[in-house]
């Protein structure tokens, strides 16, 4: 699908005698970093991290892993120009910070969850259980706060002295840079533009993220896991939330900042951003698949007739699926526990979130563009 000039080919073209192992490795990483391979891998990694949380969170395993990751992450800076350029761009520094801090704190949370879950099994108290043991805020809390503030100030000042805030050429309304990127924290949403129209990616999805987050405490009726780290008692809530946060938010931000180049084309971490590369896009809609590919005919001219397969599919996804899920034992139990309103609010938010990976898979496997394509009324889904 992509016209990739591999590092090995560039190396040969540059007159080198042979392809080094490093070039081969870089090609390998570039080839496997495209979303259709790397996103499922990140998902598997996340599931592995959560289901194997009792093993890898042991400090003796975690810290060596973190060390290796750090060495690999920064070790390629002197070995590859494109990689160095991406990582050392001042505005991209927060992304590296986000990656390391998220990994560290994910470990810290899961480590305590592992200890608590074990303690509960053997009847020992939780780490957090010391209701009677109170300390005065002065000095125990205020000194911690003071130290945190001092440390934060020091880090901020060092960061500010070492790295100049970026300032590009004066604004030119006639000359958009390529690529034009939103601020980094919105790049997950800009990445969504690959799969959805702006009304979904920029308005409906972020709106539902905010609504879903706000509704969360009213939906989640599980009384367990209130005020302490645990995974065992809240598996569904934690996995769903973390899928949204780690994969659909953080990983897509990393893609958007590090791996999306000119024309929003995808570039591997060791690939030069070539602004002349054109990726052929021959995407098709559900209506094309139904009328042209399956029935072998032409698209009907009437909009509603043309789009009925997509309308039926969407209707199934948004309205029937939340009900049908209750036939699965786990969701059936949730339905009983949560009651009608809570369950359907949760289920609709859940299927909307799941529409994102479903559409991604549709794009990767059959070049799916729209499930419903009604450009006549600007309604494309």
């Amino acid at each position: 699908m992509h016209m990739l000039l591999s590092n090995s080919m560039l190396h040969l073209a540059a007159g080198a005698e042979q392809v080094t192992a490093l070039d081969k490795f870089k090609d390998f990483v570039n080839r496997w970093s495209v979303p259709q391979y790397s996103l499922p891998m990140f998902l598997l990694l996340m599931l592995g991290a959560f289901f194997g949380y009792r093993k890898w969170t042991k400090p003796i395993i975690f810290w060596p892993m973190m060390l290796v990751f750090t060495i690999v992450y920064f070790g390629f800076i002197p070995l590859d120009e494109s990689y160095a350029a991406i990582l050392q761009k001042p505005d991209n520094v927060p992304i590296s910070m986000m990656i390391f801090l998220t990994l560290y704190f994910l470990w810290l949370g899961l480590r305590q969850a592992a200890i608590n879950d074990h303690n509960m099994e053997v009847g020992k108290p939780l780490i957090e259980e010391d209701r009677e043991d109170k300390v005065l805020c002065w000095p125990d809390l205020v000194y911690t706060e003071l130290l945190a503030m001092v440390l934060c100030t020091v880090v901020l000042i060092i960061w500010s002295v070492c790295l100049k805030a970026p300032l590009e050429a004066a604004a030119n309304p006639a000359g958009p840079p390529n690529p034009s990127k939103a601020p980094w924290y919105f790049l997950g949403l800009q990445e969504m533009l690959v799969y959805f129209d702006p009304w979904m990616a920029g308005v409906v999805l972020p709106g539902l993220i905010i609504l879903g987050l706000a509704a969360m405490p009213y939906i989640d009726t599980n009384p367990k896991g209130n005020g302490y780290y645990t995974f065992k008692e809240r598996k569904f809530a934690i996995l769903t939330w973390m899928f949204g946060y780690l994969i659909l938010w953080c990983v897509l931000i990393v893609f958007g900042t590090f791996l999306r180049g000119p024309n929003w084309n995808f570039f591997g971490p060791f690939q030069t951003w070539d602004s002349h590369r054109v990726d052929a896009l021959t995407n098709i809609n559900v209506s094309d698949i139904w009328y042209v590919v399956i029935l072998g005919g032409k698209l009907p001219s009437s909009m509603l007739v043309r789009e009925w397969p997509g309308l039926v599919l969407s209707g199934f996804w948004f309205f029937a699926l939340p009900y049908l899920l209750t036939k699965i034992k786990f969701f059936g139990r949730l339905r009983t526990q949560m009651g009608f309103a809570r369950y359907y609010l949760m289920a609709v938010l859940f299927v909307v979130m799941m529409l994102v990976p479903v559409k991604m898979v549709g794009r990767w496997t059959m070049n799916l563009k729209y499930i419903i394509a009604m450009p006549e009324i600007s309604f494309n889904l």
Partner: protein
């Protein structure tokens, strides 16, 4: 001799008019230290020991607040040197870079903003992982969600102010989304449904959601002023108010969360 000076300062009328208690060394004076200070009395007098462990709280909520203060101070200083007008905005930033001694205020402001966003996300992750949004803290979580959105909007509105290529095109990308708002955007689905009698459309390029955001059909002079006012006045006021509510509710909902 030094001790003598310290003692006479501590016994002076000025000192004792400010600090109503002795050095916080015993239980009574430590309680007084918290209760008699307007800033410290945000804290309760005593807290659960495991509640304030750093590995439990990650201190991320506190750091977000601290960064908010750092942003306010550095932001006020930047306002002395910056004029939100297309003719001056960019050159003021250049001037700031070239002419100011120890000119790291813009760096502190920009990197602090990035750090604040990361801190607020991690704070949300911690609250989620400890299930601290569960009753009785549901409403405070909602306040937190609004603060999260305000933090990102603060950063987003600030992104435009340097008026360089990075700024206007990032905001252009962002505001293109507003154009596609269902019912309220010029290119959004459902806009045709909003019509006055006689087929007069309500949603036009001069009345849609993007126009509301930019005060124009593209990122221009009016958008710069609008973002400046939002960035320096409207959103910080809203955020400060909600931060007060957020902190107050922590106390009212039973302090730092812990096993029930």
């Amino acid at each position: 001799m030094l001790q003598g000076v310290i003692n006479s300062v501590r016994e002076s009328q000025v000192w004792s008019s400010i600090f109503r208690h002795g050095i916080p060394r015993d239980r009574r004076t430590r309680v007084m230290a918290i209760m008699s200070n307007v800033f410290l009395h945000l804290h309760p007098v005593a807290v659960r020991k495991s509640g304030i462990r750093l590995s439990f709280t990650w201190c991320m909520g506190g750091l977000t607040f601290f960064l908010f203060i750092a942003e306010t101070i550095s932001g006020v200083l930047l306002m002395f040197y910056y004029r939100p007008v297309v003719e001056y905005a960019y050159s003021d930033i250049i001037q700031m870079r070239a002419a100011l001694t120890l000119g790291v205020m813009r760096e502190i402001h920009r990197w602090g903003a990035h750090a604040m966003i990361i801190a607020v996300w991690l704070h949300m992750m911690r609250v989620f992982l400890t299930g601290s949004y569960k009753p009785p803290r549901e409403f405070n979580w909602v306040v937190g969600v609004i603060l999260l959105v305000l933090t990102m909007l603060l950063s987003f509105t600030g992104y435009l102010l340097p008026w360089d290529q990075l700024a206007i095109w990032a905001i252009t990308v962002g505001s293109k989304m507003a154009e596609a708002t269902p019912f309220a955007g010029m290119n959004g689905p459902g806009r045709e449904l909003l019509q006055l009698p006689g087929g007069i459309p309500i949603v036009t390029p001069y009345s849609d959601a993007k126009f509301l955001l930019l005060a124009g059909d593209s990122v221009g002079e009016a958008a710069l002023l609008r973002f400046y006012v939002l960035h320096c006045i409207a959103i910080p006021l809203g955020a400060a108010t909600l931060i007060a509510v957020h902190f107050w509710r922590i106390r009212k909902d039973g302090g730092i969360s812990g096993p029930m």
